[in-house]
Symmetry: C2
Subunit: 407 residues, 2 copies
Amino acid sequence: MNPFATHFESLEEFADRVSELLQCPITIEDANHRLIAYSGHEHYTDPARTATIIHRRVPERVINSLWREGVIPKLLQGEEPVRVAEISEVGLGNRIAISIWKNKEVLGFIWAIEMNKPWTEQQFHLLKQAAKAAKNLLLQLQIRKHKKEERIQEFFWKLLTGHVSSPHDIVEQCHQLNVHVYPFFSVGIFQFQQQIQTQVERQIDYLLKTTQQLAIPLYTIDHQRLIVLVAPSSNVYGESHIERFFRSFMTQMKERFRVDIMMGAFGNVYECYTKIAKSYEEAQTVLKMKRAFPHQLANIQSYQHLGMYQFFDLLFEQKRHGDFHNVALEKLKQYDAQHHTNLVETIETYLDCDSNVNETAKTLNIHPNTLAYRLKRISEIGNIDLSNMSEKVKLYIDMKLDKYRTT
Amino acid sequence: MNPFATHFESLEEFADRVSELLQCPITIEDANHRLIAYSGHEHYTDPARTATIIHRRVPERVINSLWREGVIPKLLQGEEPVRVAEISEVGLGNRIAISIWKNKEVLGFIWAIEMNKPWTEQQFHLLKQAAKAAKNLLLQLQIRKHKKEERIQEFFWKLLTGHVSSPHDIVEQCHQLNVHVYPFFSVGIFQFQQQIQTQVERQIDYLLKTTQQLAIPLYTIDHQRLIVLVAPSSNVYGESHIERFFRSFMTQMKERFRVDIMMGAFGNVYECYTKIAKSYEEAQTVLKMKRAFPHQLANIQSYQHLGMYQFFDLLFEQKRHGDFHNVALEKLKQYDAQHHTNLVETIETYLDCDSNVNETAKTLNIHPNTLAYRLKRISEIGNIDLSNMSEKVKLYIDMKLDKYRTT
DNA sequence: CAAGCTTTTGTGGATTTCCACAAAAGCTAT
DNA sequence: ATAGCTTTTGTGGAAATCCACAAAAGCTTG
């Protein structure tokens, strides 16, 4: 006989019922570790559960340690209950957890705290029945969610493409769609190796929903790209927070799901939501430049740190009109061609290395004095003053623009 | 009785007549020291005269030494003959010279070589009569010239403003107007302190016609500006030749005529005459930037050496659209305002000094360690990697663009 | 192949930069 | 005024840079 074969008014009622039967506190989460319901009976509760209930989601450090311990992977693999030994660093007591399935998809989890004595077979059996029963209750939630999701997606694309009216209207619509408005935001893009499949979509959703490093009020997926609206909590360190989140997102996608992300990029942090399109464009520029200069920009993610490459599209356009041709560079190229030398490569590396002699010499595998000699020749042949910042800048940009052309 | 009161078929005939009467070689030049006529009698001739006749103009070094010796100023001051002692460095023997006047204007000069014995009063008197007689002969030459000049001026303005057809047509017209076509050229501009008066125009004409450092096939005057088409003899060192010419032109205007030229600038060296308009624009850009950055560009004359400032008009235009706003710079400015520090000035000077610690510290009158400390703070506050060329470039350009805005 | 050029590498010493540490001076807020 | 912060200046030693000079190696050309 199934003790859950009745109708439940709410998930809370269901949680209470499970708690009653198992004689322990019960927490029900969705697939992204957001709190859905919890039992209210007076039992002992560990700090992790308290925090989960207060913030309506499982703290990220708890999730992380559950991944590290292999608990979540096990839950995602099968329908069997998993016993979790105490993890005192994150305030987690002894637990029993089980995943809630619909077909091949995990809808959520039920967590029980293992009180004083070990569970009996009977209790495990009850928990499995509870997980089956929870399925239908969760499904109803999901359907409601999906409809809203679609409208939100459409709204996000409007923002990204600049099809928006006034700031006031944006805020209005956010409220209608129940999207929280944050004071600062930036648009980020993750470029994946391949088209993003449904399976990966779910994993992305999981990571974005569980992260607590910053808020992600909106996101969407487009072919090989994941586009996110990120909202750092502070303006001053906003950028470094986003930076950190991007790195951790990419490593987690790799470590947890074996999904490689080629690169991530994000635009400037703005306040007014009408600037979303701009931030999005900036993020796209970063991706474009990273493709053109993979080596130099390997560690760059933000438009802010794109440095002079911010100008490149503009300058390149002008250069195509035949402007800015650099006599010095042409002379060096000609000399290289005629004498089988490497003056252009030398000066480019030298500037890449921020005019650091030792570093440059090492990179080029030459003696520092050889470098000094070459630099002397370069300034002679190209008629360049290498201790003049403005001339160096011109030369550097022109060389990089040359490379940009060939990509 | 006036021995020159007859009709002369040509200036050569006149020169021969003078030579006969004075018993010495005679050379007649226009106001710009171009050879107009010379006597053909067999007399001793000094090397300076030989060179003058062969090249159809007085060699520049001879002109320069005549200025240095004060001969030419004296000739320009009055109508009296001037005795010139031998200047052996330039191959000039003992000479007598006199200027040819029309109203207050010098039309040219008559040069006589003083043979073995000193001249008699009688000879000086004859020379003065000859100078008077030469006036009418020279005037006829001038009228013919002026008409041609006007058509050339119009042609030059067409070239400068890009109202030209094909390269072939240009060459065609040059031939018609008797303007020599050179393989390389650049357009230069001199910016004068005031509107250029007729008096100064004549002095400009004088210097341009007498220089032999490079060819000046065309020039024109426009309010406070003198615009020249300069043709260096070589492509490789063309630029430095133009540079040298510009400097000497400016010092000579000042030293010889007390005329101050604010600055000079010239565009790139091109081969095809259709690029005249472009070179002209480049020269204008140099002037514009020199006005905006008088300190940094004090010694810059060529578009080539304008370095990164070449980009500024373009970048500035984009910046006005609100692009490229530099968070790092804004943070530094804010910090400066709040804490009464000089971080922005410090980093700007540091970059001006090509990241040279000692030089920067001296310029700012601070201890090198103070500079090091400030740089550390700058990289912290602005979140800038000061050993990354690209970031430095971005910051530098943004700071200079800021300054550009305020001019 | 020999002469004359450019290029690379080496040596040594003066100068500059970098870094860590510390004292002193200046500013701000309680 | 005092405590706590930032900023400036000082000291000294390790490391890097700069410079002059020279030997050796590599190319080009007659």
